[in-house]
């Protein structure tokens, strides 16, 4: 029994490695083909990317870029684990960051306290914004995909409305932005050279840890995953599916509220018309790429940052600027397909292992019949195994 268990865990490890390896290899080949098709040398492109991406200022840039990506992916992943598609992370983090910036710019509390208030406001606003979609889904049966997309637009308009001089913003040159957060209420930086790493990387780490712990180790996490796997089974097991939908949307929104914090507390210190947008959609790609796994998403976020950083350099070298976007798309597609292929293969293997186990054990409960079918069992099970490769087609 334990030997078999080992085999399965070895299989699990193999699966964990096989899929990303397969995906990256395929993506590498396809990207090379695309670059070659534009008449450029793909190998030189990869050389440029690795060479430029590994420089120390690039490393810092990539890490800082990856922080909001990671938070955004975590927010999306909470929904994914629950079988909810929160496309609204984009709107949620922008509304959250905006109001957090407004509050932060208006208050003058002692530093640490004010940072806390800003973060709590951001999470609360994000949770509220996502909660609307959750409540609409449970009470009116409206798909969260529709509502969160619409809430994205509403978020944009809402911010646009308040982001003017006579409302909540100040004018600075041609740009409008919320009043600047006082220096005491800014997040710390980790002094690295040549540039510092944002201290908000700590928030990302805490969220990653909490994500892993809550989903994998707590009763609440089990209930959430159960609903994600089968609503009917979860409801029969005693989970209130409606409450779980609202709760997980609220949680997802709260994490989404944090997405704007690295920019707000480490870089811009105000919400202006140039505040980054679209990070919520990047989060969807990264959650897919990282398979909703806390470490997988971290690696995916870094990979994304790496591609964006090196994409700039590729342009200088005369490559088409769209190449990086194409690569990102190819990678996500390859990962999704590779994981599905590996998942199916593993399921088939497990099933045939179960079948082999059945035949090998025979059926001690049922006495042998009068015919030879019984005796054939072991043999044909083996032949099932050995011939399987040939018959899968």
């Amino acid at each position: 029994m334990s030997r078999l268990k080992d085999k399965f865990s070895a299989q699990a490890v193999l699966q964990a490695l096989a899929a990303p390896a397969l995906a990256l290899l395929t993506a590498f080949v396809l990207s090379s083909a695309v670059i070659a098709a534009t008449g450029k040398d793909p190998f030189h492109a990869f050389y440029v990317m690795i060479d430029f991406g590994s420089k120390s200022d690039s490393q810092v840039w990539i890490i800082n870029k990856a922080i909001p990506y990671y938070l955004s992916a975590a927010a999306v992943a909470i929904g994914f684990r629950m079988n909810l598609f929160n496309i609204g992370v984009d709107g949620q983090y922008r509304v959250a960051a905006f109001f957090a910036a407004v509050v932060g710019g208006a208050l003058a509390l002692p530093g640490v306290l004010q940072i806390g208030v800003i973060i709590v406001v951001a999470m609360a606003v994000g949770a509220l914004w996502a909660g609307i979609a959750g409540v609409l889904k449970t009470t009116r049966g409206v798909s969260e995909v529709i509502t969160t997309i619409m809430l994205n637009s509403i978020a944009g308009s809402l911010i646009g409305y308040f982001l003017s001089e006579d409302k909540l913003a100040v004018k600075d040159g041609n740009l409008f932005h919320t009043p600047t957060i006082p220096e005491a209420a800014r997040f710390f930086l980790i002094p690295t050279s040549p540039d510092p790493i944002y201290g908000t990387v700590v928030i990302a780490a805490v969220i990653g840890l909490a994500y892993w712990f809550v989903l994998g180790r707590t009763r609440f996490g089990f209930d959430l995953r159960a609903v994600g796997r089968s609503e009917s089974a979860a409801s029969a097991s005693g989970v209130s599916v409606r409450r779980m939908v609202v709760t997980s949307m609220v949680l997802s929104g709260a994490v989404a509220g944090l997405v704007g914090m690295p920019t707000l507390l480490n870089k811009s210190f105000s919400y202006g018309t140039d505040f980054p947008t679209g990070v919520g959609f990047t989060g969807i790609a990264i959650a897919l790429l990282g398979r909703n796994h806390p470490i997988g998403m971290a690696l995916a976020a870094l990979l994304w940052g790496f591609l964006e950083r090196t994409g700039i350099q590729l342009e200088f070298e005369g490559y088409a600027q769209e190449i990086v976007g194409v690569m990102q798309g190819i990678i996500v597609l390859c990962v999704v397909i590779a994981y599905e292929i590996v998942r199916r293969t593993v399921l088939r293997r497990q099933q045939s292992a179960v079948g082999a186990e059945l035949s090998a054990q025979g059926t001690p409960g049922a006495p042998a019949g009068p015919d030879a079918a019984e005796a054939q069992d072991g043999k044909s099970a083996q032949s099932t195994q050995s011939k399987k490769a040939g018959t899968t087609a």
Binding site: M1, L347, Q351, S352, V354
Partner: protein, 574 residues
């Protein structure tokens, strides 16, 4: 390709040796990962006969029929139709060869008429107008199907729908009809009507392949019987030369397990008391209909209460109301003195209700999750799955006890003889019987006071069936109260201490399982008999004659199922 079969091969010899068989399967082998495969199947079906294919659940009958209907390709072996070797790539191929199939779950559009349903997809044959209508009526008359072409399918009962399916196959030119467990959805009286139709078809030279595991029926209608066990043909017999007992032993390979439990363990302590329960459900079109009406019963400690009924008469809703998955709008449910009428499912489970769901894939398992996570499902708040609040702080999130849950999953696998290579495999990779054994083990592990068992042995092999029955009996001796819902009347009669019959959302009759016969239960299931079913050894003299009563009953039953046909179809799902 085909090797020499180990089982006895061929159909009954005799007539038709010189002419080609209607259908002949030789050396059919089909492999699936993890499930019983067909192995060297040899069947010869003579033209103009009713040929029965019997075998217990999971023996491979349905797979074989899917192969014959072109839905699956055999890995080895040959199929010949009318003496000609054929390769069937799709049902369309099979239909072109004159093979038609009536599935267990009907494939009809409810909002179309019988005529429209028949013509749908076969418009090229006779058009969609008067020519098609003429053909339909011709067929109906020729085979005495009693088709009413302009009635909406949603207004038809199960038996009528089945006839429409048969008509559809005939309309497409079928000369060989495959019927997959046609009697599973019928009450005994409707079965007789179906068999009359089959005899009619046979007399017109058609061939019927009939899948069943109900031996009495098979013996009464078939001209030849092929027995399948564990994926291979083990015998071909003639009905005149065999008995139900011999057939059963061929099917199982040993003596049949018995559901009998006779020593009574019923106590006088009521455990579950349901009083005047009422539940309405919304129809898809917005209307409200009553699905449970005035349900009252009491189950005592140590008692098994069996509920019989044609599927879709409110049994599933009753279970959901007692489990707390739907909120009743009237009446009360009391468990061990505590009113739980509106309690949450989780608190009910915590207070000692075990649940073996009717549809284990939808309600009993997380198929994609490993077995040990399924150990936690439904009992996430109970030992050994929980460590209580984090760091012992009240109100903190409760932690899972992963190690303990894993260990206990191992124990269930061991104690309940779940055949699996380990607890890390996904629940989906286990066979149905082993999934069920795991669920039974899980539910029994929390010492339930009340067990709700809905079709506990459906789709389960005979060995597992006997085990599950044993476990229910053992727990009953310990004072467990059981609400047993089953479509298997023998199981109900054998296990229950008290029997109630459900019809159109009401409990209409009760019976003593020691004396009642399946026939008598069947007639109450159609609504024909109500009150206490008193067993008569002789023909009834004081009541109406059973024949007329039955005919009336059959119609009533159909009406009942019209009103909630959607649930009956869902309910039939395995």
């Amino acid at each position: 390709m085909s090797s020499e079969s180990s089982g006895s091969s061929g159909a009954p010899s005799g007539s038709g040796q010189e002419s080609a068989a209607a259908v002949e399967l030789r050396g059919i082998t089909k492999r699936f990962p993890g499930v019983v495969a067909n192995r060297d199947i040899d069947i010869r079906v003579e033209r103009g006969t009713v040929h029965a294919l019997v075998g217990e659940n999971g023996a491979g009958k349905s797979t074989l029929m899917k192969i014959l209907y072109g839905m699956q390709r055999p890995d080895e072996g040959t199929i010949s139709v009318d003496g000609e070797d054929v390769t069937l790539h799709s049902p369309a191929d099979a239909i072109a060869r004159g093979i038609g199939m009536v599935h267990q779950h009907f494939m009809l559009a409810d909002n179309l008429t019988v005529l429209e349903n028949t013509v749908l997809g076969a418009e090229k044959l006779y058009g969609i107008g008067s020519r098609a209508r003429k053909k339909v009526m011709e067929l109906s008359d020729a085979y005495q199907l009693g088709i009413r072409p302009d009635v909406l399918v949603e207004d038809l009962g199960v038996a009528d729908r089945q006839r429409v399916e048969i008509l559809k196959a005939l309309y497409r030119g079928a000369r060989v009809l495959i019927l997959d467990e046609p009697t599973a959805v019928l009450v005994p009286q409707e079965v007789d009507a179906l068999f009359a139709n089959l005899r009619e078809l046979k007399s017109e030279g058609l061939t019927v392949l009939f899948i069943s595991h109900k031996l009495g029926e098979v013996l009464s209608v078939a001209d030849a019987i092929t027995v399948i066990r564990r994926g291979t043909t083990v015998a071909s017999v003639r009905p005149q030369e065999t008995t139900p007992k011999q057939l059963a032993e061929l099917m199982v390979g040993s003596e049949l397990p018995s559901a009998e439990t006779r020593e009574s363990t019923v106590t006088d302590q009521p455990l579950l008391r349901v009083t005047d329960l009422h539940l309405s459900a919304a129809d898809p079109d917005g209307g409200l209909r009553t699905v449970l009406d005035g349900i009252s019963f009491t189950i005592h400690k140590g008692e098994v209460l069996g509920v019989a009924g044609v599927e879709g008469n409110g049994q599933a809703e009753l279970v959901e109301a007692i489990m707390g998955m739907s909120d009743p709008d009237g009446g009360s449910v009391t468990l061990d003195g505590q009113d739980i009428s509106h309690a949450s499912t989780r608190s009910r489970r915590e207070s000692g209700i075990g649940y073996i769901p009717e549809d284990r894939h939808r309600h009993g398992l997380l198929l994609e999750a490993p077995l040990w996570e399924n150990r936690i499902l439904g009992h996430v708040t109970e030992k050994p799955n929980t460590k209580g609040p984090a760091f012992g702080i009240p109100g903190a999130p409760h932690l899972l006890a992963l190690k303990e849950a894993r260990a206990d999953a191992e124990r269930i696998v061991e104690e309940y003889d779940v055949r699996t290579p380990g607890i890390e495999v996904s629940a989906a990779s286990l066979s149905g019987g082993n999934q069920q054994k795991f669920i039974v083990g899980r539910e029994m592990s929390h010492d339930p006071k009340l067990l709700i068992a809905a079709h506990p042995t459906r789709g389960v092999d005979v060995g597992a069936q006997a085990q599950i029955w044993d476990q229910i009996r053992a727990a009953r001796r310990e004072g467990l109260a059981v609400l047993l819902i089953s479509a298997d009347l023998d199981e109900l009669i054998g296990l229950s201490d008290t029997l109630r019959v459900m019809y159109r959302g009401k409990l209409v009759a009760d019976a003593d399982p020691a004396t009642v016969t399946p026939q008598e239960l069947g007639s109450a299931m159609t609504g024909a008999a109500t009150g206490h079913l008193e067993h008569r050894e002789e023909h009834r003299e004081d009541g109406p004659a059973p024949d007329t009563e039955d005919a009336q009953g059959a119609e009533d039953a159909e009406d009942a199922r019209d009103s909630d046909s959607d649930t009956s179809e869902r309910g039939g799902d395995k």
